[in-house]
Amino acid sequence: MNETLVIQQRGVKLYDGDDKAKLDVGVVLLTTHRLIWRDHKNHECCIALSLSQIIYFEEQAAGIGKSAKIVIHLYPVTANKEPGPYQQSKFPYIKLSFKEHGQIEFFRRLTEEMTQKRWETPVPLTISTATGSQTGKTRAVGIVGIERKIEQKRKETEQNISEAFEDLSQLMVKAKEMVELSRSIANKIKDKHGDITEDETIRFKSYLLSMGIANPVTRETHGSGTNYHMQLAKQLGDMLLAPLEERGGMMALTEVYCLVNRARGMELLSPEDLVNACKMFESMQLPLRLRVFDSGVMVVQLQSHSEEEMIASALDNVTDKGSLTSEEFAKLLGLSVLLSKERLLLAEKMGHLCRDDSVEGLRFYPNLF
């Protein structure tokens, strides 16, 4: 079949075995027949190898300071090998280092091509590209043909990107007008130039939410919340009751975020959506509360689990065992270490516990003072 381009990836460095090739970073191209590497500056500098020369290949994961690589093991060179930058090498393999990622897709495509082996498909009327002095010429023609296609595709992509950027800029100009308008409105609301009804305020807030403009006006009515957040709060109120019970009545907000978004699958909540919805629990008289500890940790807790109860239970447990660390307390209650620590800190704050802080850990004792 005719050779066609499958995928290309820029930002790739070539390694001769484990040694860096004397070449710069470039573009690697996979066709149905060959693997080609081309210097990103000098397009004349081009190395190709037939896919048929590949025995097998594998991924090499990235490490700290090292990019992901694909290692390609090759058959030993035949006597009539074409002249190229490397007449011989002490390594039976080469590596492609993906400095700008893209290895995942490239690996997948290479696997496909190596499985399908489309270069072996016989095509009736072709010029034989077998060995011999013919090969040199055909190769040259082949490369030029492919080069043209690549150039075409690159121009198209560039065209697409620049068009996209142009459209994006125009869009941003319009968005900026909206931002300025909303600022003007916000100022007027502050200076009371006009009579805004509650309805209009709610509408305005929803426009801000849609545009992603920070809300400069906070009113007592619903704070930053909108109808959307009210609905969310209700949904959360239903959804979180069982999980909260299972976890001792309290969950870190990040845990709630993961739980809710994993359940949704799509149309996910932003972190701010979640926070704004949780802030409405009280005003909507739902049995949940958003709570912020001194450390900055934010949790959702069942309203039924009152503060006194939590502190009393913490004191009981610590007295019972003589002393407890956060880890021990967590195990005891089936809570997370983070939250059990917060409870102990709270009890300490209220004067019921005191601490022994050493390098071995933070341990709490009943406060006998």
Binding site: E163, M211, A252, V297
Partner: protein
Amino acid sequence: MHRRGVGAGAIAKKKLAEARYKERGNVLAEDQIVQMSKQIETFKSHLEEFASKHKQEIRKNSQFRVQFQEMCATIGVDPLASGKGFWSEMLGVGDFYYELGVQIIEVCLALKHRNGGLITLDELHQRVLKGRGKYAQDVSQDDLVRAIKKLKAMGNGFGMIPVGGSYLVQSVPAELNMDHTVVLQLAEKKGYVTVSEIKEHLKWERERSCHVLDHLLKEGLAWLDSQAAGEPQYWLPALFSEISSRDVTPDEANQMTP
């Protein structure tokens, strides 16, 4: 009998004030809100058009995402503020970053028992890519940084510490001040640091050095090797190479609660 502020007289007065206001070329807020509602509809359709042409570009091209984000920031718009925002709904940027947020939280949680809640951006990147699987969309470090910035809204101490040309990502509310940060940066090259090294490079007294190291130990961010040749070494698991550390199985991760 006069009544102040109510009745037909007051209403007429108000209307007069409004009329005068308008006359001066000033627009009232409620009129502007009406104007905005019209503009919102127009903008929405422009965005829909943009999305139909270029949605794929944003999905595939991380460079384009960077540009997009920077342009939004310049004009004062946060496309990731809400899943209900136009940007998120129509361009699908939201889901990409919010899901990334979930993955970041999960990776940090799974490793917290080992590194105390501190991880290099590189390691986080590798693990997130691994978790997403072979056929998932590529994710750049810029994407991670933006997702982490959004996570900060939920408390819990998500933050980034500049270290050795990249960042350490903090996912616990451990208090880390300038002193701690500087010691972390010092430890970056070898993965560990000693009191002598701190005294030599930072010119601190012994007491200050020990104070900082003790804090890192207490927070679970450093491990003490008291049997090292010479003097005790303080190792930072967050800086260990991924290759030399044992992986946590999903079962183990489930048993480890935050």
